[in-house]
């Protein structure tokens, strides 16, 4: 990685994923929910980079890693503006923006302590009832919540 006065030059990755256009204040949250803090291959984390569209943005380059739909849903919930770029042999194979899913399965925990999902072994289910700000409703206890807590 080298820098000159104008731009940051980052080594290209041969294979892996680039997550671009992450809201700057969400970068480390994305790192955390994807477990990248314990990922053993190369990860490049950029934050507070200037962006025409968002003012400031974050970017992640993760070598030799492709994400499952479940992981992409997690990213969409935390950083809905993010773009996912799939790299194979230095080529961009796919570039897609994320969409907040209509329903969220398993990955989120219900914050209602009296909800049955916090007692029995049940896969959680939520309906997305509002996208900005994100608001979800538990399929079981029917509580609506804005706070998102991921299952371990």
């Amino acid at each position: 990685m080298t820098t000159n006065n104008k731009e940051l030059v980052v080594e290209k990755i041969a294979n892996g994923t680039v997550i671009d256009h992450i809201q700057a204040d969400r970068v480390f949250k994305v790192v955390s929910i994807l477990g990248l803090d314990s990922y053993e291959d190369e990860v490049l984390i950029g934050t507070n980079l200037s962006s025409k569209k968002y003012g400031k943005k974050g970017i992640l380059k993760i070598k030799n890693k492709y994400f499952t739909q479940e992981e992409l849903d997690k990213i969409a919930i935390i950083a809905p503006t993010a773009t996912i770029i799939t790299i194979k042999d230095y080529e961009i194979k796919e570039k897609k923006s994320l969409e907040i899913p209509h329903q969220i399965h398993k990955i989120v925990k219900c914050i209602n302590p009296n909800c049955i999902t916090n007692v029995e072994e049940i896969d959680t289910q939520f309906e997305v009832v509002g996208k900005d700000p994100l608001s979800i409703q538990c399929h079981y206890c029917e509580k609506t919540m804005q706070e998102i807590v991921f299952n371990d």
């Binding site: 009296n114 399929h139 206890c141 029917e142």
Partner: protein, 309 residues
């Protein structure tokens, strides 16, 4: 008339307007003729994971008047749950013995989950602070019976509108009937935004007040609720509002002739005894109506609606 055979009742929004009317019409038949042993070959599982005398007796009497047998428990401390059995396993077991399950549980969402585990239909008799749809159905029955219609009524709701699940469900159900809502509560117990939004999104109007007297002159129904001490994290807050709305016979001076006072019961002090003697008191008949509505639900969910006379 809709066919409710095999259809769970977990949340009041699981049923449509037509479903409500089907149940109410059938309940009317049971009010005229309550003893109809059409379910002689059926067994009803009555699972009360938390005590509830009123609702349990109402359901079990309904089942008995239909000729069905009832198995179950009213006190989970005397069951295998004490040994740590999961809700999942209890439901698997009971559903293999019974044709329909009636269930009350202290956890929110327990009934929805149980209905997904159970191969037989399930009626929610209350899940924590979440839903109590048969209460809502009997409220609808009582409103229609006293007003002759469910359409275009002015419904006032009084007291604890924040935590009271019956008033939330009633707003959802009455949104099908072009109701106008009048919410009376202290600011700390106001109707939650999501319920008000539900009314607005259904194209209905609502108004908010802090004095009971303000709604007396025009309300068709005044739905009173108990302010529940156990809901308050801060007991000082409870002391401030506990006596906020006490209805006496004098409070009702100037009300409409057709006006009726409803209450899900039990009451504490929010309706004075002198209201009982007025022609406006309807809460005891309301509770009785619950049995007819539950008979109608059990019979139609088991597919016996056409056998009811």
């Amino acid at each position: 008339m809709t066919n409710l055979k095999g259809k769970n009742l977990i949340s009041i929004t699981d049923y449509t307007k037509e479903d409500y009317l089907t149940v109410l019409d059938l309940a009317e038949k049971f009010e005229k003729n309550p003893n109809q042993p059409i379910l002689n070959d059926k067994v009803v599982g009555s699972l009360f994971f938390e005590p509830s005398t009123r609702t349990r007796l109402s359901f079990e009497t309904a089942a008995n008047r239909l000729g069905a047998r009832v198995i179950g428990f009213s006190n989970p401390s005397a069951t295998s749950l004490q040994k740590g059995e999961s809700l999942h396993d209890t439901i698997k077991m009971v559903s293999s013995y019974t044709d329909i399950i009636v269930m009350r549980h202290h956890k929110d969402g327990a009934s929805r989950y149980a209905s997904e585990v159970s191969p037989v239909p399930l009626i929610n008799a209350g899940d924590g602070a979440n839903q109590h749809p048969t209460q809502c159905m009997l409220d609808l029955y009582s409103i229609r019976k006293t007003q002759g219609t469910l359409d275009n009524l002015k419904i006032a709701m009084v007291g604890d509108l924040k935590y009271g699940r019956t008033v939330h469900s009633l707003v959802q159900a009455m949104s099908n009937f072009n109701a106008e809502f009048h919410f009376v509560s202290p600011e700390s117990l106001a109707m939650p935004e999501n319920v008000k939004n539900f009314a607005t999104n259904s194209g209905l109007k609502y108004y908010e007040y802090d004095k009971l007297e303000d709604v007396v002159p025009f309300a068709d129904i005044i739905y009173m609720t108990r302010i529940q001490k156990e809901r308050f994290p801060d007991q000082l807050e409870y002391e401030k509002v506990k006596n906020a709305y006490i209805m006496t016979a004098a409070t009702l001076k100037g009300c409409k002739d057709n006006m009726k006072v409803l209450h899900p019961l039990p009451r504490v002090n929010e309706i004075a005894m002198d209201v009982d003697k007025t022609p406006y008191a309807y809460y005891f008949q309301q509770a009785q109506n619950g049995m007819y509505v539950r008979q109608a639900l059990i019979a139609s969910i088991l597919g016996y609606a056409d056998k009811v006379k």
